[in-house]
Amino acid sequence: MNSTAVATLDQAQEMGLRPEEFDKIKEILGRTPNYLELSVYGVMWSEHCSYKNSIVWLKKLPKKGPHMLVEAGEENAGLVDIGDGLACCFKIESHNHPSAVEPYQGAATGVGGINRDIFTMGARPIAQLNSLRFGKPTEDRTKWLVKGVSKGIGDYGNAFGIPIVGGEVYFDECYHQNPLVNAFSAGIVEVGKEISATSSGVGNPVFIVGSATGKDGIHGASFASKDLDEDSSEDIPSVQVGDPFQEKLLLEATMELATTDAVIGMQDMGAAGITCSSCEMSASGEHGMDIWLDKVPLRQNMEPWEILLSESQERMLIVVEKGKEQKVLDIFDKWDLECEEIGVVTQGGTVNYYWDGELVGSLPAESAVLGGGAPVYHREWSEPAYYQEYKKFHISTVEEPADLKAVATKMVALPNIASKRFIYEQYDSMVGTRNMGTNDPSDAGVVNIKGTDKALAMSVDCNSRFVNADPEVGCAMAVSEAARNITCSGGIPSAVTNCLNFGNPYNPEVYWQFVGSIKGMSAACEKFETPVTGGNVSFYNQTQIGDKIEPVFPTPTIGMIGVVEDKKFITTLSYKTKGDLIFMIGANREDISSSQYLVNIHGITNSSTPHFDLEEEYANQRQVQMLIREGVLNSAHDLSEGGLWVGLLEKGFASGLGFDITLPAEFRKDAVLFGEAASRILVTVSEENKDKFIDLMMLNGCDFDLMGHVTKGGIRVDDEDWGSVSDYQEIYDNALGAILSA
């Protein structure tokens, strides 16, 4: 394709643009764009870069919080003040479509991209999380995807050298064709030392640094912005190829660069490569830029438009203060990385692209970017019929099994409940010697901030079955679960990043799920005072095969960080001492809606969300935060998939100790054991702290119940012998690996 040939409507549509968008481009330029210019708009106005179908609603999310230094959308990632002159920079991003067709590279480059977002801001990444979703684990496709994705995440993250301190893996057939791969990274930067993605100072040179540019990833942003179908494997060339070694060198060079005074602005090249970084930095700094594409270091012969669109990984664009070029060149030379001057900052807001001195493309930067000229759409939505249908479910239609102990054993082996160590043992979770959960885990990942009294707690959560049943309630529950994990670990929830994985936004029922999720997220984030600092939206997570369209469950993954103000507050999940009392904070309920028990044991998938009340949730968490600070808890663990039964066992797996409990007589036992009503936390209290604990519980009127006590290893339920923790541990540890390696 000739870069300067006049573009056509057909070409625009091939790039995913709509006819009215093509007209708008002609109007902006006052002429028909050439192929290169059209390519720029094609990627910049793709869903992936422009957020055109989501931005109206994203703007409604709470942005302000007491600790926010940088709000959503202002930079590559949000920035939260954590005290001691330090800020935490964190973000989550999806790499779903690439992982669906090329799981190894798709997942690896997802890890690379999210970390680059963090260190581009001058923050050194210190911990990663991920949220993965696949189809049924018994399917060959799932085994192939799990193997590729986990190896991709491991190989990239292990070499890059940032520990993975937590995460979640879900299996459900709705993700069979379209898995979700969401990667989270958090970094630390001294307040005031952060680097902006901006540009200013006419005459300042523009450098490209890192890897040479190749043909990988061209049109990656467009590929991410359409449905998957039977021909999607032909889009494999749109998947980038990662090189963690280059990324590690780029990280170290960037950290050195951040200590100099030479940098005006820096942006990483993820989606849409040089196009996106040159346009966004220029628009942000209200300047223009001349870019000489022939100066870009290449791996192979490429057309100008290909150079612009390449999504080759491990590259950055840097605007350097004129006269300080040598400082930058020296640093990149030390780390054996390419560093080439490819342009200059100009007056006005026009970005000009040159090839051998000839102008091959020119456009106003602002016209291409989100918040500027990129289209903004209000989409329609409609409530799907299933929503009311699901609400009709009642527990009375489900017969209580006669042999609960047999069911309890089956529960431990369910893929969504069994240990995920088969996957996560492939990840380096300890490099950096900051992971405080290695030898004594908490509900959230807890990361040491060396040299301070503080630690950071972080968690990614989303029970997408709940969100599907009721997007508004389910998404508020996802926020609450993330907060609960942080609370149980001894932290105070601080801020949220989100990864909004949905189907096609042009489907009104999908859009209804999206809008409901945003409303639920807003309500919960307001309540917890955890502003949404950024993240990403991934639409088109659906597969069309023949006439059948299969969207994934709406999956608004919540990544949350919290500050543990003093390491002495860190609370872990395991039982500590035989004889400790086991209390549940929150109420027992006769509620099995959307539980793993109902779905997997009874095969019933059409039920609504289990009990959830935001005020109750908040009150229970405040109570636990207070109990931790009063020093009366020996452990805390939130109840989620598998309910009370699995929560009790997990506390045992981490310690080898068991439990002896009595179930409340007024409810069905299966509901009490396996139901997943929200807002419940299992804590243990030593005999001597019992009175103080009860006094403190009476202050605020939260529900609580004495369930039983910790034993040496045996399990007793209502005075019946249910075996020992080690019996279940064997099943729990090995069930998933056995399925996935079969």
């Binding site: 190896k151 043992e425 492939q426 979770s429 010697t433 992971n435 290695t438 030898n439």
Partner: protein
């Protein structure tokens, strides 16, 4: 005691090692750069874990050609103390400073978890002062940690008391069930015949901080330092 921790391109445990030796244990510790040849008068050179040169070609195969490795080989041959952990161990076998080689784990997967290792050698500094009847909890994190050597070499290692550690249970029992990577005779670390060069796959620096609730690794460093003889 003065330590020098080398940073190769792709090293990622260098700062962790410096934190333990310098901040936690209070020894003077300098960071050495792979392109330099001056060892700055250190008493012990440490080759840290990571993925030097991306582990491309073969783990440690490119790093052994770094300018600083010439100085390290000379230093070791003159009796200087050298410790290699994980990728550092791989570089030492590639350099010929330690016998044997590290192959891919028999599972063909990267493995990161806590394991137990039993001290074997009573004459090598790093294991001499430890309790030889139990396992020490030290994490591993590697894809190529499957130690291999010829039968002749193995016999020499045994005859010279050069086997530093074997993968074991917490109680110190050695067997195939607790071999995480397929290493010959569960070997987790070895020394050279002169007992001044040590290499091990497990990461003692990851088990040396009270804040992380495992200080077993600190015992290894203490033993090594107690037996170092410096002019």
């Amino acid at each position: 005691m003065k330590f020098g921790v080398i940073t190769f391109p792709g090293s990622n445990c260098d700062q962790d090692m410096i934190y333990v030796l310098g901040t936690i244990m209070g020894h003077e510790t300098v960071n050495l750069w792979h392109k330099d040849t001056d060892l700055q008068g250190v008493d012990c050179v440490v080759l840290p874990g990571g993925f030097s040169y991306g582990d491309y070609l073969r783990s440690g195969a490119i790093a052994k050609m770094s300018p600083i490795m010439g100085s390290v080989v000379e230093f070791a041959n003159n009796g200087g103390y050298v410790l290699g952990v994980c990728n550092g161990f791989q570089i030492l076998t590639e350099s010929g400073l330690l016998p044997g080689a590290l192959r891919h784990n028999d599972s063909h997967k990267f493995i990161c978890k806590n394991v137990f290792i039993k001290p074997v050698s009573k004459s090598a500094g790093i294991s001499a002062d430890l309790d030889h009847t139990r396992g020490y909890k030290i994490p591993i994190a590697h894809g190529e940690g499957n130690y291999y050597c010829s039968q002749e070499t193995l016999a020499e290692l045994k005859a010279n008391d050069q086997i530093l550690f074997q993968y074991s249970t917490a109680e110190g029992e050695v067997g195939p069930a607790v071999n995480p990577n397929g290493a010959i005779e569960n070997i987790a670390g070895v020394s050279n015949a002169a007992k001044n060069v040590f290499g091990m796959m497990p990461h003692p620096e990851r088990a040396a901080d009270a804040e992380l609730k495992n200080e077993d690794g600190l015992e290894l460093f203490k033993s090594m330092i107690a037996h170092m003889v410096v002019a």
